[in-house]
């Protein structure tokens, strides 16, 4: 049929079923990439972040596995044997030195596992103390940031959802906590909690964790959620107004669907990134408090308390300071770099 220009005649050719050749074009050549896959790909390409990630995994795994297979434990004073006088030859061993009874065993042809970093002033194997201290520091950092994440998310989303008076009150509280000098408050609260908690939890399972670590968690739960909740609130406020949320609502989506399919996936990357960056800051705080004597309870080691104990014999045993110092810097550095990499990979909006 001759097509007449400038008329509204329908061009019937447009409605012929597609040939097989044409259909080929529409076939998906490869599965579409999800947001998560995209991010992982970007992260993998970022060499610095990737190497940091491997370092973190290695340190974490060795801090979990090594204490299980190592022949010495972090609290055993090697010179102290039941029923015998204390053998002080085990105290302050240099790396790869042995105590008297161990030397006798070696001469008798037995093999003795070496003290790779020597022993400390009480005759405890220093290597395993460093590894165990790493485990404590990592665990404190991890759980502290989980606590911050949970509290911050709950309060931030309440504030963002309800708005109005609730939001106003929460945000004023946030403002005030935000303007408090955090470190001083942390020190004050830890000092007081250390004195009040220790008798309160005696005999309960909590006592094995130690009053100081628990007070550290309480302090984090009280003070550090504010920046996280501000972040979440801001996210929710801006996401609520997005066009795709409006269009979802217009097509009849329920509130729960919008939250699950739109708000959470769009929030989650920001939340995870800031939680990841919270870990090194928690490790920093823990080591700082340990250094002031407000950290983990003896005999449990943490990297901060190891470093502060090393100050006493610094002139004779400098490596006792250097080893935990390197460890803590390595952990914080890799976590920071990995966190930066995560942000670059999963938060494309920040790239610009």
């Amino acid at each position: 049929m001759q097509k007449k220009k400038f008329t509204f005649h329908v061009d019937l050719d447009s409605f012929i079923p597609a040939s097989d050749a044409e259909k080929e074009y529409l076939v998906q050549m490869r599965p579409s990439s999800t947001f998560f896959k995209d991010g992982v790909k970007r992260l993998y390409k970022n060499k610095v972040a990737f190497v940091s990630f491997i370092i973190i995994v290695l340190i974490t795994l060795s801090s979990i596995i090594l204490p299980m297979i190592w022949p010495y434990s972090y609290e055993d004073q090697l010179g102290v044997r039941p029923g015998k006088p204390v053998d002080s030859s085990y105290n302050n061993l240099k790396p790869f030195e042995y105590g008297k009874t161990e030397e006798a065993m070696i001469e008798a042809g037995e093999s003795v596992f070496p003290h790779v970093f020597g022993t400390d002033a009480s005759g405890r194997d220093y290597f395993i103390r460093v590894i165990y201290g790493t485990r404590i520091s990592l665990a404190v950092g991890f759980f502290a940031s989980i606590i911050v994440l949970l509290i911050g998310t709950v309060i931030g989303s309440i504030s963002g959802y309800f708005g109005g008076k609730v939001d106003l009150i929460i945000m004023r509280i946030v403002d005030i906590i935000y303007s408090l000098p955090d470190m001083l408050m942390v020190i004050l609260l830890s000092t007081v909690l250390k004195m009040t908690l220790a008798p309160a939890i005696e005999g309960t399972p909590l006592a094995s964790i130690g009053s100081n670590i628990i007070s550290l968690f309480i302090v984090f739960a009280l003070l550090y959620w504010v920046s996280m909740s501000r972040l979440i609130r801001g996210q929710i406020l801006s996401l609520r107004e997005q066009e795709y949320v409006l269009s979802a609502r217009a097509t009849g989506a329920k509130g729960s669907w919008i939250i699950r399919k739109h708000l959470i996936p769009n929030c989650i990357s920001v939340v995870i990134i800031s939680a990841a960056l919270q870990i090194p800051s928690a490790i920093f705080t823990e080591s700082y408090l340990s250094f002031l004597g407000l950290g983990v309870n003896a005999p449990m080691p943490s990297l901060g308390s190891l470093a502060s104990q090393a100050l006493n014999g610094l002139a004779s045993y400098p490596y006792r300071l250097v080893i935990p110092a390197i460890m803590i810097s390595l952990i914080v550095l890799s976590l920071n770099l990995f966190g930066d990499g995560l942000r670059d990979a999963f938060d494309p909006k920040l790239n610009g």
């Binding site: 408090l180 470190m183 001083l184 408050m185 004597g293 110092a325």
Partner: protein, 309 residues
């Protein structure tokens, strides 16, 4: 300055006063929640002596009355009561004594950190992705990943125990050099990174291109246009830097045995000298709050483009 700015400043000052009040209240009630009085642990005291001492320090009165007196003394007389462990001395006098050294330490560290940080940051930005930029970024990244007590202990180990360049005792002559370096390194690294990123941002602006296009010399573009504008974000770090230096000085003074307020604070924690802990926390907190306030106001005055909440 228009009325809106003034209103903002008044609001910020009120918030600052309120914050200091919150600090005082929290500190007071938290310290008094500790079970057992401050004299319980003392050796060789009979209950009668303890009661007499509690009466002397007013600890036998109801808590709210004690709080009222404490608050009134601070506001009207700037009096934080007597120290419990250093008998016969007032908390304020001890703090002011220590403050002289600590202020010197902190101020020099802050100035050094700002000067070197800005210069290094500007150099890194101008030589972006060149060798020197890489070196500066690697070093500063390392420094921001080290807690101050680690930097301090390592410096002590290297320069006073191994090389004997500086005394390990902060009270000796030249003893403040290492503590100052320790305190300055982290803020310096942070300011370097801040200056670099903000400078890169400014260098990409249109007015820089315009200035270049109309033939303004390179140094004039950098010092007249770029540097000035890129320092505004750096200014916001002023308050946090002071907070860092104050808390950092607690451990640094401990490491180098500097007779400052930080060392007093730490020993008052181990001694359970309650009035000292409270007094020091409140004064240091007030200092930080005031510096944050000054930073916020300065920020607004320097750059009128910034909109207020």
């Amino acid at each position: 300055m228009n009325t809106k700015t003034l209103l903002y400043i008044v609001k910020r000052i009120l918030l600052a006063i309120f914050t200091v009040w919150v600090v005082i209240t929290v500190t007071f009630f938290v310290m008094h929640a500790v079970p057992g009085g401050p004299f319980v642990g003392e050796k060789a005291t009979t209950p009668a002596v303890q009661a007499a001492m509690e009466a002397k320090y007013g600890l036998d009165k109801p808590l709210l009355e004690q709080y009222g007196t404490y608050l009134k003394d601070i506001v009207t007389k700037f009096d934080f009561g007597p120290s419990l462990k250093q008998r016969g001395r007032m908390v304020v006098d001890i703090i002011m004594d220590g403050m002289k050294t600590s202020l010197k330490l902190g101020l020099i560290a802050a100035v050094i950190a700002a000067l070197i940080g800005i210069v290094l940051g500007a150099v890194a930005a101008l030589r972006r992705n060149k060798f020197i930029d890489r070196v500066i970024m690697v070093i500063t990244t390392a420094f921001v990943s080290m807690p101050s007590f680690i930097i301090g202990s390592l410096l002590l180990l290297c320069f006073s125990l191994l090389l004997h360049w500086f005394p390990a005792n902060g009270a000796a002559s030249g003893g403040l050099v290492l503590p100052i370096i320790t305190l300055a390194l982290y803020p310096m690294a942070y300011i370097t990174r801040l200056t670099r990123s903000s400078m890169l941002d400014v260098l990409g602006q249109d007015y820089i291109r315009t200035a270049r296009a109309k033939g303004v010399s390179g140094t004039k573009v950098i010092f007249g246009h770029a540097l000035k504008n890129s320092l505004i974000p750096v200014l916001t770090y002023f308050g946090p830097m002071l907070a860092y230096i104050v808390t950092g000085s607690l451990v640094v003074e401990q490491i180098f045995a500097v007779p400052g307020i930080g060392r007093q604070f730490v020993s008052s924690i181990t001694n359970r000298d309650y009035p000292m802990i409270m007094g020091t926390t409140i004064i240091l907190a007030a200092l930080i709050v005031v510096m944050n306030l000054v930073t916020d106001i300065l920020y607004k005055v320097v750059d009128p483009r910034i909109t207020l909440e």
